[in-house]
């Protein structure tokens, strides 16, 4: 955490941002009523809240769809990324052969390949297209971070394992994977957010027809000028993103808390 920040109690770390949020929402509410801003341009927070209450069955169903695609994409990206990283550090030929294509996949904007993926999976399976696109977006940070981590093993520790005749499997499990853990967790934090972005962007592009995730709710609300509901859907999306981030940050603390420099608080 922030090195130069003055010590702040955990409660204040929560309370201070909440107070700021409450002030901003209050100003927003008052300004909207005061200036009589039309609801299809900027709805008041109270109207967004009202929309959240009345529309929540349909919004919740959409949230569930987006959440499912995000989670599945994240898990697939995690498994694939770690597996390929392990393979490429065990056999250099794997690394040399797959990395250019992984980079190519990464730098190609996902929006540009969406139509192609849609044609391949067929319009009746849009959810599969969303899953594939979100996975592509989430995959690369896991692969590159884990590869870097597996290679960043202290040379003397590597020598030590060689001295004691460690097998390839022992070296991977007892040395390389633990050493790569901070890198992997960093990659996971990026990928968790990217999986959600991928799921939303893919739905914007693939959208119509069976699409009914949160992204589609936003498009639909915009078309009908139901801006309060659009804000409600947006709110849910950012809440989802925040929850994913917090869960992964918690996991990081749980796994690294006792030993890694990043997780240990220093007293001065």
């Amino acid at each position: 955490m922030g090195d130069d920040a003055k010590p702040l109690s955990p409660a204040m770390r929560v309370v201070i941002p909440l107070v700021l949020g409450a002030i901003l929402i209050g100003v927003w509410e008052v300004m909207v009523w005061w200036l009589e801003v039309p609801r299809f341009i900027l709805p008041a927070p109270s109207m967004i809240g009202h929309s959240l209450m009345t529309d929540y069955p349909s919004l919740l169903a959409s949230l569930w769809i987006t959440l499912r695609i995000t989670l599945m994409a994240f898990v697939i990206a995690l498994v694939l990324g770690v597996a390929l990283a392990v393979l490429s550090t065990q056999w250099r030929v794997v690394e040399i052969s797959i990395f250019p294509y992984a980079v190519a996949l990464q730098v190609t904007p996902v929006v540009a390949i969406a139509p192609l993926i849609l044609i391949w999976v067929g319009v009746e399976h849009i959810d599969r297209a969303l899953l594939i696109l979100a996975t592509i977006v989430a995959f690369f940070p896991i692969l590159s971070n884990t590869t870097l981590g597996l290679k960043s093993v202290d040379h003397n520790l590597r020598d030590l394992f060689q001295l004691y005749g460690a097998s390839r499997w022992q070296r991977l499990r007892l040395l390389q994977l633990p050493a790569a853990m901070p890198y992997l967790l960093g990659g996971m934090k990026i990928s968790g957010g990217l999986a959600l972005i991928g799921a939303v962007v893919a739905e914007f592009v693939a959208g119509s027809g069976t699409g009914s995730g949160l992204a589609w709710r936003i498009v639909e609300s915009a078309n009908r000028l139901n801006i309060p509901r659009m804000f409600a859907a947006l709110l849910m999306l950012s809440a989802l993103g925040i929850v994913i981030f917090l869960l992964l940050a918690g996991l990081e603390k749980l796994l690294l808390g006792r030993w890694h420099e990043s997780a240990v608080r220093r007293e001065r």
Partner: protein
């Protein structure tokens, strides 16, 4: 050899040496000649220091003895060891690096247990042996600590415990105390001598400190640079156990003077 060998090989007639180094040279792929024509033997039970300036190849030689890398010329034999199917000697060594080289994610126990674990020994079976090694270096009470919670000297003790846990015949140490402060270093020197006297293993100790090598060693191999070569073998005949009294004695001063002169000859020879 371009130096004067002032010693006869110890017990050459009566016993086979533990390690025999014959005509060893090492050239790296970049073309750097790190070592040239090293000839010496290591007898069982001796405390032999490899002393020399940076770049004399003393660490390289130690790593070759450990089996980390192959000499480009010459051979390193272990006349008393069994050789396996791949013609590798069963070296029975412990290695202590210049840095403690501990796994930061593992406790003191896990770090010291590692060599036994890599041999396939179960935790329960290894427990007594690991705890004995940790207690042997005076770290009881820190078994569950993580390396980052320990001071530099304590981390080095963990590293020594790990090197000793398999009860090796030879302990190889690559400038183990170079990064520590003077007080910690003296304390660890004394503790190391005590451990060595109690167990009867052989120690090969790389250092660039004349004072440290004279205090610890029964023999010093003085090495020179460009390329790394063996300059001179100096026997330190002072009896063990050695303590503060030896450090203050005139004999110690005389040994330091002779060794320094030898080392200076090495430096002068290589730089002018």
């Amino acid at each position: 050899m371009d130096g004067v060998d002032r010693t006869t090989e110890p017990m050459a007639a009566t016993a086979r040496p533990l390690i025999r180094i014959s005509g060893v040279g090492k050239r790296y792929t970049g073309g750097t000649q790190a070592l040239h024509d090293i000839n010496m033997t290591v007898a069982e039970g001796e405390f032999l220091s490899l002393l020399g300036p940076s770049g004399c190849g003393k660490s390289t030689l130690l790593r070759l003895i450990a089996g980390l890398g192959e000499p480009s010329e010459g051979t390193i034999d272990w006349p008393r060891a069994n050789y396996d199917a791949a013609a590798q000697p069963e070296r029975s060594i412990g290695f202590v690096f210049q840095e403690p080289t501990l796994m930061p994610w593992a406790t003191v126990f896990e770090n010291v247990y590692l060599p036994l674990r890599l041999d396939g020994m179960r935790r329960g079976d290894a427990k007594a042996q690991v705890e004995e090694a940790i207690e042997g270096v005076g770290l009881h009470g820190f078994i569950k600590s993580y390396p980052r919670q320990l001071s530099g000297g304590m981390r080095m003790r963990v590293s020594i415990a790990r090197a000793l846990v398999k009860r090796p015949k030879v302990l190889l140490m690559d400038e183990p105390f170079a990064a520590l402060d003077e007080m910690t270093r003296m304390k660890l020197n004394d503790d190391l001598l005590e451990l060595w006297a109690g167990r009867g293993w052989t120690v090969l100790f790389v250092t660039h400190s004349v004072y440290e090598s004279v205090y610890l060693s029964s023999r010093i191999a003085v090495m020179g640079t460009k390329p790394g070569h063996l300059r001179e073998l100096i026997r330190i005949d002072a009896p063990y156990p050695r303590d503060e009294a030896f450090r203050l004695s005139s004999a110690y001063n005389e040994y330091c003077r002779v060794t320094s002169a030898s080392l200076r000859g090495v430096m002068g020879g290589s730089e002018h």
